[in-house]
Amino acid sequence: MAGCLDRVRGRDQDAARALVDHLYPLVIRIVRSHLPRRVAEEDLAQEVFMKMFTRLGQYQGAVPFPHWVSRIAVTTCIDHLRAQKRRPEFRWADLSENEAEVLDAVMTSENDVPANDAMAAHELVHKLLDQLKPDDRMVIRLLDLEQKTIAEIGELTGWNTSLVKVRAFRARRKLRKLFLELQQKERT
């Protein structure tokens, strides 16, 4: 990797292409996990790589290069999420039949979601996450879906651990409120 980076710094196009190919799986995984609505994943991945090349001179080697690129990818996604307008109020009617069933099941029983409903649960989780503020959404995604630790999230986002905890707390409170509202709407 170090040799490749030196060649990229020396404006070697082949090395630059190889670096993009090597890091693409990492970048696209982050981009897909945090993809804002109406933004093409390839455009966002391209933006991440452009930032990587522009800031390559700032990379000191203090952290492994893929970590450094991951941080660029995460902060780029956060910037796009912040630029988005908030979604309108979440309604029971926005859910598909399957999603509504899954939501009803998790709120009324202690059983795990059946394997064949995993996709509906996945969609439902993302619809609920879309109701959160971008920074809070990022923290909950990293904590609950990617199962990162607070320290790892701090490293990825550049936020200190207290801030990550505050955002997680705020997000969970909002999620509880959403569940409560959905329950009340369902009853009415």
Partner: protein, 103 residues
């Protein structure tokens, strides 16, 4: 059980299920993506350098020359300014003071 706990547990069950969905497998870069990005990065680098070389250094040079020239040209006026200030403060007519000085 508290409602908050119920909702937290509901959320935990949902995220457990959501994690079971396998990630999209086509992780390789699309054909031509790496070439395009590398070329764009190179083009951006060139544009940045040429703009800096063309404008920034010249602008700094010209600005420095203008600053030195303006100080030299106005040195006499600047050095006599406190006297004029005193005259104005004393209630003298500014136009009269200037005309007298120019004579």
């Amino acid at each position: 059980m508290k409602p908050d706990n119920l909702h937290d547990r509901a959320w935990a069950r949902l995220t457990d299920a959501a994690r079971r969905v396998p990630p999209a497998s086509d992780a390789a870069a699309p054909h031509g993506f790496a070439t395009r990005v590398a070329a764009l990065a190179r083009a951006g680098e060139r544009a940045g350098h040429s703009l800096f070389e063309r404008f920034a250094l010249r602008a700094v040079g010209v600005a420095s020359l203008l600053a030195v020239a303006s100080v030299l040209a106005n040195f006499s006026a600047l050095s006599t300014w406190p006297v004029e200030d005193e005259q104005i403060a004393a209630g003298e007519d500014l136009v009269k003071v200037l005309l007298t000085e120019s004579e």
